[in-house]
């Protein structure tokens, strides 16, 4: 399946791009993270500690166990610092 992947803040900076389209068979967010981290060092550096990351599927916060079936957009970012 084709997924739009978005990166924000230092995740974006480490990976070096704000978004990309990925073709993947990953079943869950964690599967996708493993797939991405295996690509290149800059991905490995971004995903080295997922406890420091947050994930949203189709613009709704979720967790790393969440299934990807039906998803169109997955975003990775550090804890938010709004307000």
């Amino acid at each position: 399946m084709k997924l739009e992947i978005l990166y924000f803040a230092w995740v974006r900076e480490r990976i070096g791009l704000p978004r990309e389209t990925v073709d993947t068979d990953a079943a869950t967010v964690s599967d996708l993270v493993r797939e991405l981290a295996a690509r290149e060092d800059r991905y490995a550096a971004a995903f080295v500690d997922v406890s420091a990351l947050r994930v949203a599927i189709d613009q709704t916060l979720t967790d790393f166990d969440a299934p990807l079936r039906g998803a169109r957009e997955v975003a990775f970012f550090p804890p938010m610092t709004g307000g």
Binding site: F8, W10, Q59, L61, F77, P79, M80, T81, G82, G83
Partner: protein
């Protein structure tokens, strides 16, 4: 508009006046403004605020709707900037109005706690010592607990 994402400065005084004028039956109005202050890391040149277009608007609207559902408010407003801000500029503002002050205070604190940790904004401080992403504070995450008990 009760939820606004802004890429330029706004005037909290004028917003307070307009919000107050729009309330009917309110006895108390609470506002909170967040301001860019100097960094612990050195003299702050600017703050850059990144956000997640699409998700941000949805998150702000959901947080406001939740506050309106939880307390008997006559109104609630959220304004939040993104882009480049200078020291002293206002980052964001919430305003709440209710018949009794306790509801307006509780709703304003609720809005702030959710904005801090659940709205997709990320702050970067650019100082004389370099640029750094602002770390989330544990106490901000902990502050959410009081609304879920």
């Amino acid at each position: 508009m009760t939820v606004r994402l802004l890429d330029t400065a706004f005037d909290p005084g004028a917003e307070t006046t307009a919000f107050t004028a729009a309330q009917s039956g309110a006895g108390g109005i609470v506002t909170f403004c967040g301001v860019v202050r100097d960094s612990a890391q050195g003299k702050l040149d600017r703050m850059e605020i990144e956000h997640y277009p699409g998700m941000t608007e949805r998150a702000l609207t959901d947080i406001r709707d939740e506050a309106m559902a939880r307390w008997p408010l006559t109104g609630a407003m959220i304004l939040h900037r993104h882009g480049t801000l200078r020291p002293g500029e206002t980052i964001m503002m919430v305003a709440t109005a209710a018949r009794h002050r306790a509801d307006a205070f509780a709703a304003a604190e609720f809005l702030m706690d959710y904005l801090k940790s659940r709205a997709p904004f990320w702050k970067k401080e650019v100082t004389s010592a370099g640029a750094d992403w602002v770390a989330a504070r544990d106490c901000d995450e902990a502050a959410l607990d009081r609304w879920t008990r």
